[in-house]
Symmetry: C2
Subunit: 331 residues, 2 copies
């Protein structure tokens, strides 16, 4: 199996343009050309809502448009010369905004108001809407497979699956991850856990892989119900949808559901520890602000701390593919 990186990188490319355009439109570079500022000062001057500003500014750092020293942001030389409206002989911003009219409107709106799109007030609202019709849940499931398949491929190879006999994938969607792992490891069985509306897509996808005898769907709500029991519990792009309190609650539940010697495996478009290089991780976190109120992506060290507090005795972070990494916690 080949890495999807050449393809996913081209998908993310337009989000990089969008992030720059929003910053131009909001006047980030024009304001910072006057003087470097802390994030909260800049947000105050530009009238930005709370929530997404930190990820937004750090994404601009990762895109080499801003420098960050301590908690103070400044333009990089190229941004200062070409994206400051106060320098009309070299300012490219008007031209870019006109040529890309509308491209970044959603992101710019979220940054201005601090509120998610589509009126969702909580993450649960978002999922209630998304899972409301068969079409919308199937489309969402295809998106989740697209987001996960690159990591699934590496996790199937690099995790010590020989030490375990079963896994449960929490928020499994179509089951792309356990499917990929079971194809590679014939000794394993897997449960895919998700809201009942995900069953149809799961059974269609995993049925096509001819894995129905080793893989089953377990319907449930991971806030209302206990998690399934298995040697390894997997959360793939799940924790980032939720606020800190809910993230911790899910990790507590995982700890309770695991046997001694079990492991939790969390994979995400993890933000680098310094929050200055993984542009896609920071942009995906921005997208969470757009879609799911309270959601945010995080760094490896942050997640390791939550795992230790949930009781896990040992944790480690490993890079997977492209912008994706996993954190493992051993009980």
């Amino acid at each position: 199996m080949t890495s999807p990186q050449p393809v996913t990188e081209l998908f993310w490319a337009y989000w990089k343009t969008k992030t720059m355009l929003s910053a131009i439109e909001l006047g980030v570079f024009t304001e910072l050309a006057k003087e470097p500022l802390r994030g909260d000062e800049l947000a105050g001057r530009l009238g930005l809502g709370p929530g997404a500003v930190g990820d937004f500014l750090d994404a601009l750092v990762a895109l080499d448009l801003l420098d960050r020293t301590g908690d103070v942001y400044a333009n990089t030389p190229a941004a200062d010369e070409y994206l400051d409206a106060g320098k009309p002989a070299t300012y490219l911003g008007d031209s870019y905004l006109t040529q890309c009219a509308g491209l970044a409107d959603d992101l710019t709106g979220v940054l201005r108001t601090g509120e998610a799109l589509r009126g969702a007030r909580t993450g649960r609202d978002f999922y209630a809407d998304t899972y409301a019709t068969s079409n919308s849940v199937r489309a969402f499931q295809r998106d989740m497979t697209a987001l996960s398949i690159g990591s699934a491929r590496v996790i199937a190879d690099s995790f010590p699956w020989d030490d375990y006999r079963s896994l449960a994938d929490i928020g499994t969607s179509e089951g792309a991850l356990p499917g990929r792992i079971l194809l590679r490891h014939p000794h394993l069985t897997a449960v895919g856990f998700d809201l009942p509306q995900a069953r149809e897509g799961f059974e269609e996808y995993t049925g096509a892989l001819d894995l129905a005898d080793r893989m089953s769907f377990q319907p449930g709500d991971f806030f209302r119900d206990e998690l399934p029991s298995a040697d390894v519990l997997v959360f793939g792009h799940i924790l980032h949808n939720w606020g800190l309190e809910e993230k911790r609650l899910l990790l507590d539940k995982a700890y309770r559901a695991l046997p001694e010697g079990g492991a939790v495996l969390i994979y995400e478009t993890l933000i680098d520890g310094d929050r200055r290089s993984n542009a896609v991780g920071l942009i995906l976190s921005l997208m969470m602000h757009l879609e799911v109120p309270g959601g945010f992506d995080y760094t490896g060290p942050e997640c390791q701390e939550w795992l230790r507090e949930a009781g896990f005795r040992e944790t480690r972070v490993e890079h997977l593919d492209g912008p994706e990494s996993m954190i493992i916690g051993f009980k």
Copy 2:
């Protein structure tokens, strides 16, 4: 002066996404998964119009989605596994098209019909429309400065300006290029040549640089009128707007207008000689198909041949900055 590359690269990023999306939507990868095909065969099967197909497919080569051997195109391994609709377990195309709905509609439409957008039937129609109102000509001029300023900076440094006393910039727009060169070389004078509607923008821009005593605007139509006389004639992102016959006509006119010992300097987002690495050059050529009927970008060797046929005794190609290069012809 700093390179605008970090900024312009982010601008072009969304065009890379668009190019991939159009290829997904048109079924390029699904068709090539069945068997490798020549460009004309593929265009026939997909029902694509003539004109832009070669640039489109070569841009996909430069984006690492296709391989080209001789004149036969095949999917790269990543495109074959993730962008072939015949492989539903790993196909990411539906998800990408849904998430980016509308992003590539203009490009996909042009590829299907082979006709430029906005009803322009010739390059002259395009310019007549663009120069029709003060607002549209000013916006266009800002775009042209955005496209040229990175090259202007390097040309000011790397061309042997000490050997010459005057330049004329043909299709000068705001005059960003001669402005940048004159700021660096106080012995030079410059003429900016463009349609009369460009005068206002030119005088505003170059006036702000405090160069009015060494720089003047000369109104004219480079097809109807003779070109101004100067030691160096510059064509920046001009030739690519026109068909082959018009390109040659302009180079013939340049040869006639130059003194013995004079030079023509052409800078473009030049396509690499193999047409397989400068994605932005190939994409800009695609954009020409979108905007200006008959226009296309080209490689250094192609332009050197046109220059030799126009009578220039010596030619050379030099890289400038990012995706931009220049071709120089000496009379």
